[in-house]
Structures are given as structure tokens and as C-alpha cells.
């Protein structure tokens, strides 16, 4: 049973570690306690607090799909004290996890529609959860298009999965790297995500666009989507405000009347435009 003390994490054993890119790792985590594993449920878009006791907690999305039972995965870049401590953990080690927190991508409402995923850099993990969720329920959706860019070929995460998506006939994958980030054998595009998106010009008809990336990418991607005919209610993104508690009390993800941890992290562009620009 989950603990009534909301600060206490589940103990999770690291089953597998994948080095995705320089300084970027994926952990596959399994519950130490079987009952907790059975009772645990989450939906695409939710996040958690991952921790090394004695060092601290850090906030990342759950990067695996809820259709894949028995484990969760997270992907993180080593940037601070906690992520460095996490990165030095080994397979078999136990870490802490609190969650799931936050709202979800409304996949049920998207039945019968096409999905356009647009991601940049380390922002593919929150989207990977939704991508696999949609691919595991493939018959529910029409076209699935993924536009993914990173600084360089080395910085692309989930390389095996990119290959798998690229080979699938029911997925259209466009990968790109920033100018100068290409390698001699690179077969994808070269250019920034917004311009690659504009060139590919996917149809906006009956389509939901899901955008995750650094603020600069989002800033230039939204006008392109608008030009392509996407309306604000069909554009979804996630906000990545700094958080500590994840349950609406510590105060730091408060933006206007919303708490990103409770009311987000998933927002439509309609909701985003109603918020003060404090994200």
C-alpha cells in the first residue's frame, strides 16, 4: 500500500541502465515491494520525484508507456547534484520514487485523430511515453508523425527506438540535427526543428500536435504550427517548472492560479495563453 506519509518514496530497484547519449541515461525501475507494484498505476504525461536518499530528489517524467506493465523508466541528463548521484548508481541498486503526479495527455479523447509529435533534445522522454502508448493502441489513431531534433547525432536519445520507428510503415519519422551536428553517414535532416517542421508541412486536419522541447524551440515551433493551420486547442505541450514536492504545497511551480505539478504538466496552447509568462 502506498504510504499515507506523502513524502515517503517507493523503493525501486534499477533493473537496467541504458546510456542514451553523453551524460544521458535511462533507468528501468522495478518495485521492491510486490503489492506496491500491483497497486501502482499511471497515465501518459505524469511525472515523479526520483531520489537517492542522503542526496535528494529530482523531478522527471515517467518515460515508459503505461501499456508496458511491471516497470517504469526514466531518462535524465546529468546536470546537478542529484542527477550526478543517480548517474553513478549501478544496476541492482535501490533508488527512491514518489509519484505519479500531475495530469495526463488525453489519449482517450484523441481516438480517430492523427498525432504529430515534435520534440527537441532531452524533451523526447516525456513524449516517448505517449508515443509508445499510442503505438501500443495503434488502431485508435490515424497517421502518426514524429519530428525529433537534437544538437548533434550523439545527442539523439533512444537511438534504437528511433531506428525501430523509422522502419515501421505506420509511423512517419523525421530526425534532424542542428547545422554542424551531423556525422558523415547521417541520413536525417540538418536544420532546426521549426524549419524542418515547416518543410515537412504535415497536415493539420483532424490532427493533434504534441510539442516538447527547450523554450527556444517551442517559441519558434508554435508560429509554424499556426501557419500549418493548427488551432490552439489542438496543440499540447508540457511545462517543466522547477518542483520539489510534486503535490501542490512547496510553492515553486505556481504560475498564476495554477500549480504545474497539479494542474499540469500537460497544457494546451489555449491554457498556456491564459497563464502569465512565468514558465
Amino acid at each position: 500500500m502506498s504510504n499515507p506519509n506523502i513524502y515517503i518514496p517507493y523503493l525501486m530497484r534499477i533493473e537496467k541502465i541504458i546510456l542514451e547519449a553523453p551524460g544521458v541515461k535511462t533507468f528501468r525501475l522495478k518495485f521492491e515491494n510486490e503489492q506496491e507494484a500491483d497497486e501502482f498505476n499511471f497515465k501518459a504525461g505524469q511525472f515523479g520525484e526520483y531520489s537517492i536518499v542522503g542526496v535528494g530528489e529530482s523531478t522527471f517524467c515517467i518515460a515508459s508507456s503505461p501499456t508496458r506493465k511491471g516497470y517504469i523508466e526514466c531518462t535524465f541528463r546529468q546536470t546537478g547534484r542529484v542527477t550526478n548521484a543517480l548517474a553513478s548508481a549501478e544496476e541492482g541498486d535501490v533508488i527512491g520514487f514518489r509519484g505519479p503526479y500531475g495530469n495526463t495527455f488525453p489519449l482517450d479523447d484523441w481516438k480517430g485523430k492523427s498525432l504529430l509529435f515534435i520534440a527537441g533534445g532531452i524533451a523526447l522522454p516525456p513524449m516517448r511515453c505517449v508515443i509508445w502508448n499510442a503505438l501500443d493502441l495503434r488502431e485508435n489513431f490515424k497517421d502518426i508523425t514524429i519530428v525529433y531534433g537534437a544538437k548533434s547525432v550523439a545527442d539523439l536519445v533512444y537511438k534504437n527506438e528511433l531506428e525501430e520507428w523509422g522502419n515501421r510503415l505506420d509511423v512517419k519519422l523525421i530526425t534532424t540535427v542542428d547545422p554542424g551536428g551531423e556525422t558523415p553517414g547521417w541520413k536525417g535532416e540538418v536544420g532546426f526543428v521549426p524549419s524542418v517542421l515547416e518543410k515537412a508541412a504535415p497536415s493539420a486536419e483532424n490532427t493533434i500536435a504534441i510539442v516538447c522541447g527547450p523554450p527556444i524551440m517551442i517559441k519558434f515551433t508554435f508560429p509554424v504550427l499556426e501557419k500549418l493551420g493548427f488551432t490552439d486547442d489542438n496543440i499540447y505541450t508540457t511545462l517543466e517548472n522547477r518542483m520539489k514536492c510534486g503535490f501542490g504545497k512547496c510553492g515553486r511551480c505556481n504560475v498564476g492560479e495554477k500549480y504545474v505539478c497539479l494542474d499540469g504538466p500537460v497544457f494546451t496552447n489555449v491554457q498556456l495563453k491564459e497563464l502569465p509568462a512565468e514558465y
Partner: protein
């Protein structure tokens, strides 16, 4: 429950205090320390001062300590064991000498710790406090409780409200079941209600603004020069948040001693520049003006919109404590 009124003589008040101490209660009361008066753990009635408008620190720490262990752990290479701090026993606390603004502050504070997710440690502490408030016979230029739905003789949030009468005796208004129980346990000390009304014994705090008007004005003031103007002197020290009885933003930090340690919930402040800083270096609230705006909007717009209760009780502590003399009343009345 319906409020019950009694008289308690000054000498009986001391007996009441002694009975509480004898029963093993931990009593926090205003105690003079140099130039300041603080809520401190007291064991003798003569340690308590009556000479204060409000204490320098607020009473929130009795339910929301500055640093609270949420769990402790023991870690070896093979195993991590976690001990739940909410299983600890929490002390029976009597808050003696709170002001009506202090008592009122427990309402928004308790809302925060129960909204969506229940903070069991906060609630366990809250269940065990008895709030014995004393009305205000004095006020100063920093007080503005009457502008935020409170007042110098307001009963909201207290278990018993005592008001000193012209005779030197006290009116005791018993507001809650907890208060009623205390009267029953000490029935010989409480006498029939006095003839004198409390109103003539209360300080008159001027009403400076209408908080509902402020709330509606703030909806359109996000982009406004007032935030930078009024916060130019701000040092970002966080004193305002630390003395505030309603501010509840916190940080979560781990403390380790070898393989043992604990996770701690520690006070924090939206006035600190690191509060919202992302790992990437991006900061959604980059300037002190943006942080001051957050403080005002959170208290006077977001909290009343979410829970119908403002995040400010008009105690004026933040303005008294500010080393740069920034005054919340001045900001709010200048909008």
C-alpha cells in the same frame, strides 16, 4: 458549536496555565528576549510577557517547524530502510497568547497542507494544539487585520479567545470543542459571563483597503511598474516569508551522516532568487520585482481565488521585519 462566554480572573488565568504545565503540555507563549518578543516554550507563568502587539516570529512553527524530518533512513550497500517520521508521537502543545491574526492564519495554512494531498505530519501536529488567543488592546501603524476580514477581537481559528476587561479580569469566549473541554477540566476557574462587552476593550485598527477590491484589481496588474518600484530596495533575504504566519513554501533537503540520515522539509521563500531557478539556468522569475509580485498576487489573488481565504491576515510582521523597510500595506494601498 455555539460560543460560550465566561469570566476568568487574572489569578485564575495563572492557575489555568499551571494546570496545563502540570498536565505535561508544552506551552508556547510570548517571551521577551532583548528587544524582541518571541513565541517560546515556557514553563513558568511569569516568563510570559503581556507587553507586545504581535510577536516577531509567527506561531506557525508549532505546526510547521522551520525544519521538519519527514523520514529517516538507514542505508547499507545491500539495503535501504526508511522510518516514517509521521509515526512519531507529536507533543500536546498549547499556544498561549496568540493574537486573533495568528489564529486566523491557521485557516489558510491548514488549507494548503490539505489541498489535494494530505500532509499527515502537519495534521498530526495541528490536531494536538490548543489555541488560546488574547485580543489586542494595542495596535501599531503596521497592523491592518481589519482590511483582510479579521479584527482585534476576531475569534476565527482560536479555541478560546480571552479579552482583558476594564476590571483586569478576562472575558473567555469558548469557540471549539477543544476549548470547551479545557473549561470542563478547569471548571472552578471559569465564572459566569461578565456584564462588560469586549468591544470597548479592543484596539481600533484602521481599515486601509477592501481586500475584494484589491483581488479584482490584481487580475489586471500582472504587467505593472509598481512591482519593480516597490521592491527596488529588496535584498531578497526572505525575512518576510519566515515571519509570515501564512507563508508555507518549502524546500526538501537530505541530511546524511554516513549511512544514516533524514529527509527534511525546510522553510523556503518565493523571494529567494534560487526558488524557481531551473537546472538549465532559465529562471521564470528573474527579477526581485517579479518575486515581489508573486508574493502579493499569491496572497491577495491566487489564494482567495482558490480557497476563498486570503493568504494575508494583516499582522504586519513582514513590514516590521524587513531590513529595507518594504511595507506590504504600502504596496497594496498603492495599486
Amino acid at each position: 458549536m455555539q460560543t460560550e462566554n465566561y469570566t476568568i480572573r487574572k489569578a485564575s488565568l495563572e492557575k489555568l496555565f499551571n494546570n496545563l504545565v502540570e498536565k505535561g503540555k508544552t506551552v508556547y507563549a510570548p517571551k521577551a528576549k532583548g528587544k524582541v518578543v518571541l513565541f517560546e516554550n515556557v514553563e513558568r507563568f511569569d516568563e510570559i510577557t503581556e507587553d507586545y502587539i504581535v510577536t516577531t516570529n509567527s506561531a506557525k512553527s508549532v505546526v510547521f517547524p522551520r525544519v521538519e524530518e519527514v523520514f529517516s533512513y538507514k542505508k547499507t550497500k545491500e539495503k535501504t530502510e526508511i522510518s516514517d517520521a509521521s509515526a512519531n508521537s507529536f507533543p500536546d502543545v498549547v499556544l498561549w497568547g496568540s493574537r486573533p491574526c495568528d489564529a486566523a492564519a491557521f485557516i489558510p495554512l491548514t488549507n494548503t497542507f490539505n489541498r489535494d494531498y494530505t500532509d499527515i505530519i502537519y495534521n498530526k501536529r495541528f490536531e494536538k494544539i490548543l489555541i488560546l488567543t488574547f485580543s489586542c488592546s494595542k495596535c501599531d501603524e503596521y497592523c491592518f487585520c481589519t482590511s483582510v476580514n479579521s479584527g482585534t477581537g476576531n475569534t476565527a481559528g482560536s479555541d478560546i479567545l480571552f479579552t482583558k476587561l476594564s476590571t483586569g479580569d478576562f472575558l473567555a469566549e469558548v469557540i471549539t470543542e477543544k476549548g470547551k473541554l479545557l473549561v470542563e477540566e478547569n471548571s472552578s476557574l471559569f465564572e459566569a459571563k461578565p456584564a462588560e462587552s469586549k468591544e470597548q476593550n479592543l484596539a481600533n485598527v484602521k481599515t486601509y483597503f477592501n481586500h475584494e477590491e484589491v483581488q479584482s484589481k490584481l487580475q489586471n496588474l500582472f504587467e505593472n511598474p509598481v512591482w519593480d518600484e516597490k521592491s527596488r530596495a529588496c535584498l531578497g533575504c526572505g525575512s518576510c516569508a519566515f515571519v509570515c504566519p501564512v507563508c508555507s513554501c518549502f524546500d526538501i533537503q537530505d541530511e546524511s551522516h554516513g549511512g544514516n540520515g533524514s529527509r527534511l522539509r525546510c522553510w523556503d521563500s518565493c523571494g529567494f532568487s534560487l526558488f524557481t531557478l531551473h537546472t538549465s539556468g532559465h529562471n521564470p522569475r528573474e527579477t526581485q520585482g517579479a518575486r515581489w509580485r508573486q508574493r502579493i498576487l499569491h496572497k491577495f489573488l491566487y489564494m482567495p481565488d482558490q480557497s476563498k481565504v486570503a493568504g494575508c491576515v494583516g499582522c504586519g510582521r513582514c513590514s516590521r521585519a524587513c531590513p529595507a523597510d518594504i511595507n506590504i500595506l504600502d504596496t497594496v494601498t498603492s495599486l
